[in-house]
Symmetry: C2
Subunit: 353 residues, 2 copies
């Protein structure tokens, strides 16, 4: 584990992006997403990926010069053509638009097409919540789940995230993908030759298996709740891909396994201005009452305390904000490659925790 | 199983409602929801419940004379105070408003407070989809699920339904509750003293159990995907209860176990006018392309064909539309009680299927 000051992480990421040709402002806005994501502890989606995003730029899979453009606009909606820019850039433009529209009409939908992997949804929905909004974001991804009754990778485990403000505290943030577990967990089991529960994936015949070796060898992840996760996956493709005339899962390749190719994922954002829809201002009181009811509900044998969505993420975020960002070795390795590639040294230190 | 003509079901339901004091128009709109729900095969939420709704009216839990009123209105949003009217009446008013608003601004949110059990979401979202909309509806309910790490019934398995149009076919309709399985399944296992998979519920200590006898004896349903279902349950309470300053799960009692009490559930509707957000008109082509990709994807060993959400429901609907409505014995028993209470005879016949 490494400990690195936020400012130092910003410096490295900004320099790396500016060297690719990004403006100071663009670089800062992209870095901010990635660094916050590490602070949330979602290390698979944070600064670790910047080296690969830049590789993707170099190989033609991300267009550095792209200027995303709104191709549809109306009172409570907009569609952004992200034109293959880096995911964080287009997605932040879309978020800003969603908030702007919701402040006028109360509710907004913003779709994004021709985007690239936006990282973790938490950052974006938290940005909306900080401005008093209920915010939701979803994205399609390359197929990795089986259809119930099917075999092979057909559906995307399309992530869905939402957030809303909480009185005197960080927003409630929720951020999941629709598979029973993340591919990461199966790859780990694969590496250590461990068995997995038979609810996680199917083998090449579409039969539930405890053998993780089938992953990326004809197997597929299972959707959470079977047909329920399937329906949510289709929902995401409808609101992102169908609605924007963008790509659906079926036409999407992994952003990181196919660096020269455009990723062209589609996103959907829903934003509601709480102060407009709830003009009495009772939202946060009712919310707090409900959250306290949950937190104080009876605990199962062996459980110390219950949590609200996003609580663990914000606890890490606050600690990192105060003491520096804690990053695991795989992220450090990738940052080191990044720093080397731009002839920079990273000022950080090893810590035990 | 009984076979009854749709017109005959309408006659019985309409007479029963009109005898309570509903106008011809109100009665027809309420009956339509319940009958369609039986035609979809969602018999737990259809005409079977009309006898109990009327009992609830008689015992003071539903206000027959209530006139739902919009208490908040804006360009793309509205909040309806349903004033304890029967769920189908208020919810249809809210749906109509959502479509009206979406036609103007492209996107609409409509919340409903002080409502009663609306039945199944499928009818309402299908109504929106038939008018070219993407429609979504959700409701909170009385608590029946444990919080991950908790014990006892704390969260509602808050249903979520959505629909969107499909070219030349019935809309895609999706309608689920957030528990791993419906309480109905556990009650069935309880009745027949069968074991259940340990992923369905927890015992009174909050430990996963295979013994259904704990249901309503200190046990609780488990949310689908653990923390994922928990987060979706909170989402529904936020968009319905917090947003409307209505009740959250914690204050809601079962509509049918507590007939004299008001149910006071909250709902949320999201409606998007597809023709506005996707003015090119490509939504349904991209959709069909994607659905065909799913339907033609490889099948697991032992599976004949794959399905899209709502397919089974619409197949029953069409067959019932042509040949008469097929209803199981428990629904027939309830309808018989209803008919007796209004001195009517039902013209139906026994069938084998």
């Amino acid at each position: 584990m490494k400990l690195v000051m936020k400012k130092e992480l910003e410096r490295i990421c900004n320099v790396a992006l500016e060297k690719q040709g990004y403006s100071k402002e663009d670089a800062a806005r992209i870095s901010e997403v990635l660094i916050a994501t590490d602070m949330f502890g979602i290390h698979s989606h944070g600064t670790k990926n910047l080296y690969m995003y830049i590789e993707k730029m170099k190989q033609g899979g991300i267009d550095i010069k792209a200027n995303p453009e709104f191709i549809v606009e109306g009172p409570a909606f907009a569609v952004l053509d992200a034109k293959d820019c880096i995911g964080m850039k287009g997605t932040r433009i879309a978020i800003d638009k969603a908030v702007e529209l919701a402040k006028k009409t109360g509710v907004a939908y913003v779709g994004v097409k021709n985007s690239c992997h936006f990282g973790a949804g938490t950052f974006y929905v938290a940005e909306m919540a900080k401005q008093g909004m209920f915010g939701m974001i979803m994205s399609n991804v390359d197929p990795n789940m089986a259809v119930p009754g099917g075999k092979g990778m057909t559906l995307g485990n399309n992530p869905i995230a939402y957030a809303f403000p909480r009185k005197g505290q960080h927003p409630i943030t929720f951020d999941i993908a629709l598979s029973v577990v993340a591919a990461l967990k199966i790859n780990k089991a694969k590496m250590y030759h461990q068995e997995i529960p038979d609810s996680w994936m199917v083998d090449p015949d579409g039969i539930p298996t405890t053998n993780p070796q089938y992953y990326q060898e004809g197997g597929a992840l299972l959707p959470m709740g079977g047909h329920k996760g399937y329906g949510f996956s289709l929902l995401v493709d409808a609101l992102s891909g169908f609605m924007t005339s963008g790509n659906t899962c079926k036409d999407i390749e992994s952003w990181c396994f196919n660096l020269p190719n455009k990723n062209r994922v589609s996103h959907a954002i829903i934003c509601i201005d709480i102060s407009k829809v709830n003009p009495d201002g009772h939202f946060e009181d009712i919310e707090e009452d409900y959250l306290q009811y949950i937190l104080n509900s009876p605990k199962a044998k062996g459980t110390d305390h219950l949590m609200v969505p996003g609580q663990r993420e914000w606890e890490k975020y606050d600690k990192d904000e105060a003491n520096g960002v804690r990053i695991p070795e795989d992220v450090a390795d990738s940052l080191l490659k990044l720093a080397d590639s731009i002839n920079e040294k990273i000022d950080w230190r090893d810590i035990d925790e």
